[in-house]
Symmetry: C2
Subunit: 247 residues, 2 copies
Amino acid sequence: MPRTHRKTTSSLIGEKLADFRVGVDNAIFSVDTAQNRLLVLLVMRHEEPFLGQWSLPGTLVRQGESLEDAAYRILSEKIRARNLYLEQLYTFGGPDRDPREAKDSYDVRYLSVSYFALVRFAEAELIADGVSGIAWYPVDQLPELAFDHNKILEYGHRRLRNKLEYSPVAFDVLPELFTLSDLFQLYTTVLGENFSDYSNFRSRLLKLGFLSDTGVKVSRGAGRPASLYRFDAEAFAPLKDKPLVFI
Amino acid sequence: MPRTHRKTTSSLIGEKLADFRVGVDNAIFSVDTAQNRLLVLLVMRHEEPFLGQWSLPGTLVRQGESLEDAAYRILSEKIRARNLYLEQLYTFGGPDRDPREAKDSYDVRYLSVSYFALVRFAEAELIADGVSGIAWYPVDQLPELAFDHNKILEYGHRRLRNKLEYSPVAFDVLPELFTLSDLFQLYTTVLGENFSDYSNFRSRLLKLGFLSDTGVKVSRGAGRPASLYRFDAEAFAPLKDKPLVFI
């Protein structure tokens, strides 16, 4: 068959529009500050495809439902949290990302709009529904996940690192009162050792002027008592729209 | 009718999955450095809905086509450019964003994955297809656009401002050789007057160490001759993954 002919045929086929189901998948991160572990919430799938494999908590978007509503719906089914931070992460929609796309299955494309969420570890309560497994997994010990969820998670991890570098998102994760060493430890847990040395980090953050010393001191282990700080949202307000680097 | 009954009914309806068509819409920006205007590429719709209204260049995703391929397809149909920068922007997928969702129309949801692109104005050649209109519009003189495209564009504009603040994207937009005053003018065009004063901006950028003086001077208007600079990608490489602020 001459090449031009094949090209014509395939470009005709190619012009048919794709039909889609749209899923929402949440990359929900938390930091166990007591153990210095970065965690992500996984659920075990209890249906095909990928039955019995760990995955990001997700759902398919329903009639009349917005993407964000779907993301909050799945969150509220898996976790009870007083505060949480949620934003859209990225949309993964290449062909062949879901086995249900096959002609002998549902024969529609499955697109995933992923959301990035952060919750305070101590305040977040997992909801076990008695059917499927649910667990906080350390990000550095992930199993092989269903679909392209390892890729989504990698993207989410990068977003988390960026947000720590450029925004005050750490204070959504830390307890309300924290020592500067807690804050440094959180950054080290997410960004890795050697992202900065402690004294540079400390002086940089204090200079920005939105950490207020509560006057209360705590003793932990053998060291000197350390001051407890609070994030001062009012002092931060004028900096909100300015480009800042936190490390 | 008692509330519990209504709730049950509506939650049953609500559990039906939505069917989607997926569109890709490109927010393509350029800066006319000679005239200090921030521009966005618009096309006039030549079919319903919104016949005759300006819109972002977009397309529906075809069978077997990835989202990014669709974004590049529409770009290549509208513009010839040697270099361009493209990244995913945001996904807009709420119900009622497209009149074609109506029961008496196609009765499927229309989701838009938007892409953000930047091209060099002098190198970009618009492709008029003889049917629909196409134009670079100044961002501060936009008409009312089709669908939710004004909202998408606003989001893209914010992304552009962020990218100028945190990344070397300006050098994808400027000609290869530029004066520091050209660079300042570009920032002013996008970020608005008074984002910084010229001498602070100048010393900050030079200190970062990736602008190399070509030794060539140009005269423009009445001022002293100014040095032409080049972005030194090699000098920038070690900074690539470090958090930086450009203004």
